[in-house]
């Protein structure tokens, strides 16, 4: 890439090792005397108001709204400010923005066809918001907004309503053929219709819980290991190494879950646009 990164590499490694050593020493000398789990793994998901500590109404600025705002600003910085130059040879930010655009565009076109491209702005918005919110949530001491079912349920319900409305507007009563599997024997069709209807209405539930559950599980596991590190004393470098490995896995999960959420949206859109089996 560039010679500037080569010279920074050694210094970066040194800084990383120094940070790890400082972290281990800090844990060693400030850890509690009795080996207890001092860090509760679920404390990180508490929603608290930013100013004061009153009741939380729908308009109260909380840590969730703050970090959602950070995610939105991150998306705007990447897509609007980062690609403002419109250079033929793109800068780093612009090429990331172009990669993301091409990735979502291809995904939507492959799954939902040319017709699905009408919904590209919506799908792109979903993908960028979820992936940036997941990544921002991985910053230490940040709040993971997408680990709350309240946040993901709204996203999933919006997809569910969009798909249902588009399906009925576009196909009329023919949209109900989605539940009437015409390739199955006639005797089986009512049974299959029953199952299909149930699975249709479970979609928003599994769609939202998958994203929230994955992120909550990952972050809770990291906090559990942090509790081990605080309790173990001299051997605390072992859980810290485990946290580093978990963190790498969580980076992967943050991307894959955004990808899965988006591609399931594409699949549901395909069902709405072409309901016949």
């Amino acid at each position: 890439m560039g010679s500037s990164t080569d010279s920074g590499n050694g210094a970066g490694k040194f800084a990383l090792i120094a940070a790890l050593v400082v972290l281990v020493l800090a844990v060693l000398f400030t850890g509690p005397e009795t080996p207890t789990l001092s860090i509760h793994p679920m404390d990180q998901f508490a929603v608290t108001p930013l100013f004061g500590d009153g009741d939380i109404a729908w308009y109260t600025p909380t840590n969730v709204t703050l970090w959602m705002l950070v995610a939105v600003v991150g998306v705007i910085l990447l897509l609007v400010v980062g690609s403002r130059g419109r250079a033929v040879v793109p800068s780093r930010a612009q090429s990331v923005a172009e990669l993301a655009y091409g990735f979502v565009h291809k995904m939507l076109e492959d799954v939902a066809g040319k017709e699905g491209l009408k919904f590209f702005p919506y799908v792109m918005t979903l993908f960028m918001f979820i992936v940036v919110a997941n990544m921002v949530g991985l910053i230490p001491a940040a709040f993971t907004t997408t680990s709350h079912i309240a946040v993901t349920a709204v996203l999933a319900l919006a997809v569910f309503l969009t798909v249902t409305i588009v399906g009925f507007v576009k196909n009329g009563a023919k949209f109900l053929e989605l539940f009437w599997v015409s390739s199955a024997p006639l005797v089986l069709r009512p049974v299959l219709a029953f199952i299909e209807v149930i699975s249709y209405f479970v979609r928003p539930v599994s769609h939202s819980i998958r994203l929230a559950g994955n992120l909550m599980a990952g972050h809770a596991v990291m906090k559990v290991f942090a509790g081990f590190a605080a309790a173990l004393g001299v051997a605390s470098f072992l859980p810290i190494l485990a946290i580093v490995a978990m963190y790498a896995l969580e980076l992967l999960v943050a991307f894959i879950q955004a990808y899965v959420f988006t591609i399931l949206t594409c699949v549901y859109l395909k069902d709405a646009l072409h309901p016949s089996h």
Partner: protein, 78 residues
């Protein structure tokens, strides 16, 4: 944890729900392994099917997440 028999049932239930996470790992491994064995037989067709694999993994994994959710609810919400 002192002397409350209801808590015992709660923790046993949470542990049993945790088993579901492990069993869904079998499902995820099954999907990915079968995809890989198919992809090695016909590598040229593999790239087009990665999306399908991820959808399959997501469905298998969702059930594990459900049981994780049951465990979490038993531990912290009941």
């Amino acid at each position: 944890m002192e002397g409350d028999i209801a808590n015992v049932g709660q923790f046993i239930g949470a542990g049993l729900a945790g088993l579901g996470c492990g069993i869904s790992a079998l499902g995820v491994g099954n999907v990915a392994g079968n995809f890989l064995s198919g992809a090695l037989r016909n590598p040229s067709a593999a790239a087009a099917q990665t999306a399908t694999m991820f959808i399959g993994i997501a469905f298998a994994e969702a059930l594990g997440i459900f049981s994780f959710l049951v465990a979490i609810l038993l531990m912290f919400a009941v």
